[in-house]
Amino acid sequence: MGDVLIFAEHQGGHFPKTTLTAVNAGLELARKRGGNAIAVVAGDAPEGLAGEIAKYGVSKAVALTHASLKNYLADAHAAALASLVKKTGAEFVLATATAVGKDLAPRLAARLDAPMASEITAINDDGTYVRPMYAGNAMATIELDGPIKVITVRGTAFDAAKPAGNTAAVEKIDAEIDSAALKTEFVAFNQTKSDRPQLTEARIVVSGGRGLKSGDNFKTVLEPLVDEMGAAMGASRAAVDAGFVPNDLQVGQTGKVVAPELYVAVGISGAIQHLAGMKDSKIIVAINKDEEAPIFNVADYGLVADLFKAVPEMAEEVKKLKHS
């Protein structure tokens, strides 16, 4: 009763920060519901990674092993996790609402006939959860019924777990998967190459909108500021739709949700759907030539200016500051 299985997503042999967030949220959930927090690393040879996650305060780390788990695919992973839930008698499965978490958790929930709370921002003591609805314009308090519940957490709503100073036991479990029932083939992953910090992990995010007018301008005008600030780069939906930048830069209700210490919105008008992705940032700056732009309603500091002048100027000023 109360045991939490934490899905520890990994890519390229390491854990993204979002996985440490899941661990921390899982530890909180286990504490509040009176159970153990068990990290689960799925893969074809996940023992090393399981040993790594075992250092973050969980009671146990499971290396869920099977050849079919080599690449992430929903059907294989849902089958493997579902049998692990049944085997361990866990009450909760928790993951961060990353692209993988969002793809996997509902399929797992249906397999277990379990209700699922998507992208929660808080775990209440009374057994309820809080999650955003209507692009974050309403916060819903919800309750889940049944012996098993599936939960994904918003990555920006919980801190990342820190090393606990000890290492929990690692248990290798062979996943029970009916390989003949698997129907999906992984073909390719076209990763957007970047040396910049990850959008969901950076302390500073500088985002560009339609005001930049072209992908070239993103490179020549915005990127120098992004790099001078050591920031991650984001974009509005309009900029992505127009083909200025790749899709994985989109910040918003249906893109990435970020909450950095500093968010600089350049040439972004501030549609409700964009705000949904960044309004929890600590400090928001807006640079826009339209003083009526809705973005100024959420900005702590607003500069009404032509971005093509202001942004290069700002890069210069930041550079001066760094060397002063």
Binding site: Q11, A78, A99, V100, D103, L104, A105, P106, R107, A110, R111, A114, P115, M116, S118, E119, M133, Y134, A138, M139, A140, T141, I142, E143, D145, K183, T184, F186, V187, A188, F189, N190, Q191, T192, T200, I204, V240, D241, P246, N247, D248, Q253, E261, I272, K279, K282, I283, V285, E291, F296, N297, V298, D300, Y301, G302, L303, M314, E317, V318, L321
Partner: protein
């Protein structure tokens, strides 16, 4: 190819959402109701597939009789017929998926195409749940869908870029923003839509478990940000960020 497209009625994305003082829901007096934008993209994709390969596009929605309006819009875009599963009681995503699974079992589509999430609920669950209940492959957040006979190759928008997966029909695909740009219903389309079949069936008649396992207890407005200030120059901006906000 027969394509089933589940759609949902939601408030227009530009609506200013106001939570009712008692937390029981949102104010609906100023709401314009539309087809969930992601479901519109699904209808469009289904129509394009039908235009290329032939077949039938069947819409289904689960809600009140007034939701006929959205089904008629979809029929006006070019869908062939529609099903309205009537339900007054609130249904959770599991119940919605069970209803759709039953409809799919009756209709036997080769493809179920639906939006990745409804912009009111933002749950992003139904497509995945439905795929599991049917035992079909799923491809979520699709930005491109290609066919070669029974084989489907889908490009998906994921965290670090674009992922491609492949599987055979039948399957469930959920749509993302850049899959296509939906057409507007034409006037001839609107006229034709009036004569297309729109069947209403009560949810209870489907024989699936409708009892909710997820309940919304209350809604609250999110914390409001304090109003900020305008700065007069880039120099001033960098100064305040350094000395006042202390973020650089």
């Amino acid at each position: 190819m027969k394509i089933l497209v589940p759609i949902k009625r939601v408030p227009d994305p530009a609506t200013t959402i106001r939570v009712l003082p008692d937390g029981s829901g949102i104010a609906t007096d100023n709401v314009k109701w539309v087809i969930n934008p992601f479901d519109e993209i699904a209808i469009e994709e289904a129509l394009r597939i039908k235009e290329k390969q032939g077949g039938e596009v069947v819409l289904v929605t689960i809600g009140q009789s007034t939701w006929q309006e959205q089904l008629r819009t979809g029929l006006a875009m070019g869908a062939d017929r529609a099903i309205l599963v009537k339900s007054e009681a609130p249904l959770d995503t599991l119940a919605i998926a069970r209803i759709l699974a039953k409809i799919a079992a009756d209709e036997k589509p080769e493809l179920v195409l639906l939006g990745k999430q409804a912009i009111d609920d933002d749950s992003n669950q139904v497509g995945q749940m439905l795929a599991e209940m049917l035992g079909w492959p799923q491809a979520t957040f699709a930005s491109k869908v290609e066919f070669a006979g029974q084989k489907v190759t889908v490009t998906r928008e994921v965290d670090g870029g674009l992922e491609t997966i492949a599987f055979n029909l039948p399957a469930v695909v959920t749509t993302d923003l850049r899959l296509n740009e939906p057409r507007y219903a034409s006037l001839p389309g609107i006229m034709k839509a009036r004569k297309k079949e729109l069947k209403e069936i009560p949810a209870e008649s489907l024989g699936v478990n409708l009892a909710p396992k997820l309940r919304i207890k209350t809604l609250a407005a999110p914390p409001k940000r304090q109003a900020g200030k305008k700065v007069g120059s880039v120099q001033e901006l960098v100064q305040v960020l350094h000395t006042e906000a202390k973020v650089i």
